[in-house]
């Protein structure tokens, strides 16, 4: 008995070793670009394009200090703060509105539902390039240009169909019997949303939050169009603000700031992931 047990343990461990080896090797491939990005940020500017290697001929750290200063008019501190001011409300508003709308679509059978749902999805299917101009006119007439309102307010009104569709899919995975028994227990539809759907959708909500955070954080084309003042630039604009094809570019500073810019999304992902993978209490689900 004992021997067999030991063998089994050994087998499991060996199996795990393979998994770790695989994960690590593939992980290197995944993360190599970031290592390179970091290495480039501490290389002298002349060396960045000279070779692909990770080890700098000379370590330069002032790329971080100089890069942070930007053009001297505004530091990256300003751009960080701007980005937070734009991203955090947008993410919060997106989650609130998307959950409500998704719940409506997933759990109720109202007239025109199919058509409305199709319309909702169809907004994702027309290329952005041709909507830019009319949307720009719309926000100009609303007097919202050069502010973050073109990002935050539409988010409040469920204009991110991706998340609505995504949450619909997850909510549909939650057994309906739970709603029905709660209803019988005297809960109204809003109580059901708050007491049953929301807790069970935690993984989906956290995934949505992470996605939206990172996508808005990296968003370039929309910010480019709506923001004029450098004082309101977000990080994605700031990172490209000094790249000119005909002139010399301080690449190591851009790389350094790219590294710094990525830290918040990485931290958000790292600390939020436990919610999207460990959020569900399995017992009582199929009761």
């Amino acid at each position: 008995m004992r021997v067999i047990f030991k063998m089994k343990v050994a087998k499991i461990n060996l199996h795990k070793v393979w998994v770790y080896l695989f994960l690590t090797l593939l992980g290197v491939v995944m993360v190599y670009p970031l290592l390179w990005l970091f290495a480039s940020s501490i290389k002298p500017n002349q060396d960045i394009f000279l070779s692909m290697g990770l080890i700098p001929s000379k370590v330069v750290l002032d790329s971080y200090i100089k890069g942070w200063q930007g053009t001297g008019q505004y530091t990256y501190g300003v751009f960080f703060w701007n980005t937070f001011k734009m991203v955090v409300p947008t993410v919060a508003f997106t989650l609130i509105s998307s959950v409500l709308v998704a719940y409506g679509f997933a759990r109720f059978d109202f007239p025109l539902k199919k058509i409305l749902f199709t319309l909702m999805l169809s907004t994702l299917m027309l290329p952005e390039s041709v909507i830019i101009i009319p949307r720009y006119m719309l926000f100009r007439d609303l007097n919202w240009l050069d502010s973050y309102l073109p990002f935050t307010i539409p988010a409040l009104f469920g204009t991110f169909s991706f998340f609505i569709f995504m949450l619909v899919q997850f909510i549909r995975g939650i057994p309906r019997e739970l709603d029905e028994s709660a209803f019988i227990d005297g809960c109204n539809s809003f109580d059901i949303l708050v007491k049953i759907i929301l807790p069970l959708s935690k993984p989906a909500l956290f995934s949505a939050g992470i996605f939206q955070f990172i996508w808005r954080w990296n968003d370039f084309f929309n910010v480019l169009v709506y923001i004029n003042s450098v004082s309101k630039y977000t990080l994605s604009l700031a990172l490209r603000m000094s790249i000119d094809i005909t002139q010399s570019v301080e690449w190591n500073q851009i790389m350094a700031m790219s590294v710094v810019t990525m830290i918040p999304p990485i931290l958000v992902f790292f600390f939020a992931q436990k919610y999207f993978v460990e959020g569900i209490a399995t017992t009582g689900l199929k009761g």
Partner: protein, 305 residues
């Protein structure tokens, strides 16, 4: 007595369905205010000669006719885009699913690994990506150096018109993080009891995967498939920042074509017509997937969409 109240409640449950409209009200407002107008305007543009700055001039179906009969790149670009979608979307989904299954295991430092695997997706379309991608896939780049260790002759990953499209698709697969996260979240939503039941039934790992995991994951697979397809058809960034559509137009994706028409050649009316054609294609493809979904997706609510 008790059963009577129960029945009453059930009827009022049915009646309360219209309240759903109230829940989707924010979206209806948002749609009418922020989305409908740009949509309609771009549709109007597609029937006009519109150079962005001058007022549009109505030209009837001319843009559409030119597109189908005169444009030397339209069919080429469409074909390129379909190939791209056919490679990038399944590639990304399969890769994401496999990695999600592995990362779903109870391992030490798993949080760390998950973050590592998500990192390429955080990088997005940043400036660093284009530089890096060129470096990796240049004739004397890192990938070819590695291959030469196995005595494989260098390949012009981005320089050869026959290969570049596949390399660009690879970039998409590499940024598989969001699909992976959704799969992970979906996997965690599968009740543990089902696995236990399968175990009691004596199902092996592979059978459990196909009879429990996969069916319950189908709503998420369905979602990922739709969204990745919708995005891939409109892909713009990778072709724009890495290859500019070249070499020999081998990566001239549809999204790049209509951007060029609009913002380089100032033919926004024409670009709008191209967009509406793409819109119809994507709608049709999505409808196909939706129509097929009853045969392969499993929903707990047994509802239909």
């Amino acid at each position: 007595m008790k059963s009577l109240t129960l029945r009453n409640k059930k009827t009022s449950w049915k009646r309360s369905q219209n309240i759903g409209l109230l829940y989707i009200a924010p979206w209806i407002i948002g749609f009418l205010v922020f989305q409908l107008y740009p949509f309609i305007v771009s549709l109007i543009y597609s029937f006009a000669d519109f150079s962005i700055i001058k007022t549009p001039e109505f030209v009837g179906l001319k843009n559409y006719i030119n597109l189908f009969t005169k444009d030397r790149l339209f069919y080429h670009s469409l074909k390129t885009t379909f190939i791209y979608v056919l490679i990038a979307v399944p590639g990304k989904l399969i890769f994401a699913l496999i990695i999600a299954l592995i990362l779903n295991m109870k391992l030490k430092y798993i949080n760390f690994y998950r973050t590592i695997y998500y990192m390429p997706s955080i990088l997005g379309g940043s400036v660093a990506v284009s530089i890096l991608w060129r470096f990796l896939f240049a004739r004397n780049g890192l990938v070819n150096i590695l291959l030469s260790k196995f005595s494989i002759a260098p390949i012009d990953w981005l320089g050869s018109p026959d290969v570049a499209l596949y390399t660009i698709s690879l970039l998409k697969v590499w940024q598989f993080g969001s699909s992976m996260v959704l799969f992970l979240a979906g996997l965690k939503q599968i009740p543990g009891e089902l696995y236990e039941a399968a175990k009691v039934d004596g199902a092996g790992k592979i059978r459990t995967f196909f009879s429990v995991t996969l069916p319950l994951l189908t709503p998420i697979i369905f979602f990922n498939l739709i969204m990745q397809m919708v995005n891939a058809f409109q892909e713009f960034t990778s072709a724009f920042v890495v290859t500019q559509g070249g070499p020999l137009r081998s990566t001239y994706l549809y999204g790049l074509m209509l951007y060029e028409q609009g913002f380089r050649f100032l033919k926004m009316g024409y670009a709008s017509a191209q967009s509406w054609i793409l819109f119809i294609i994507i709608m049709a493809m999505t409808a196909l997937v939706f129509k097929s979904s009853p045969y392969w997706t499993y929903y707990d609510d047994e509802g239909d969409f």
